[in-house]
Symmetry: C2
Subunit: 122 residues, 2 copies
DNA sequence: CTCCGGCATCGACAGGGGTCAATATATATC
DNA sequence: GATATATATTGACCCCTGTCGATGCCGGAG
């Protein structure tokens, strides 16, 4: 809250965050493009999956790395990975028998900039 | 396996973003606490609503301000606002006949830090 | 007190989502 | 080819969600 401490001079947007959200009302089209990204992440298992892929050595992980961390069936994990993939958040890379997943920087950046304090260059 | 094949100096986590996600695998409990926040935002209408509240003068807006922007019924908008409210993203403030909504800084910060490059002050 | 207007709640409907067991596909090994 | 392993797909289940019309609640005006 007391980030810069200038409470007296009126915070214009009530928060120094989320420039794309607080600068001006989000348009319908843009909202409809971004919502699916959030929807894909709006599940505990998928949040963990993305985090596991991100934090895994090399920034990638195969399903066999991810499966043991959950008490869920293999098809269920496969389903969640598919959701993340179709949302554009994960890339698939089949190497031999294994399938490696890696985050897509563009999609991650879309999320980051959504909640970023400032667009910097703007 | 190209794990140790860091050809260049290289980003250790493949991205300089989302420290809470890329530093270490997200725990189940934490994932289950954050997912509802994302779930509340994972809808185009609610994304727009939050953005409209954030960008509205004074950082707050009453339902009467928000309604005309959508071609949805008043109960539907009321429902979406309730979802955002129950997720902890919006505060309600009834003044006279009107109800004003305002973002909850804590919840917004939770989202910002999720995708922030560094936890910094945490 | 009565009436009107802003907003919430209710009940119902159609569609979507998470999960599983069963099965399919593909790759490597023998 | 036959077999074993790693993922993906299918089909079914139940619960959750976005939407609406109808109604209820509450504060202000006459």
């Amino acid at each position: 809250m007391s980030i810069s401490g200038d409470d007296s001079s009126v915070t214009p947007t009530a928060l120094a965050c989320c420039a794309p959200l607080s600068r001006e009302p989000l348009g319908r089209e843009r909202a409809e493009r971004i919502a699916p990204l959030l929807k894909a992440l709006a599940d505990p298992v998928r949040l963990q999956l993305l985090s596991m892929v991100l934090s895994h050595p090399g920034g990638e992980a195969c399903v066999c790395d991810l499966l043991p961390a959950f008490e869920l069936s293999q098809p269920t994990i496969s389903h969640h990975l598919k959701v993340l993939h179709e949302a554009g958040l994960l890339e698939r890379d089949k190497r031999g028998v294994w399938v490696y997943y890696r985050t897509r920087p563009e999609a991650m950046e879309a999320l980051v900039t959504l909640f970023a304090p400032e667009t910097a260059t703007a």
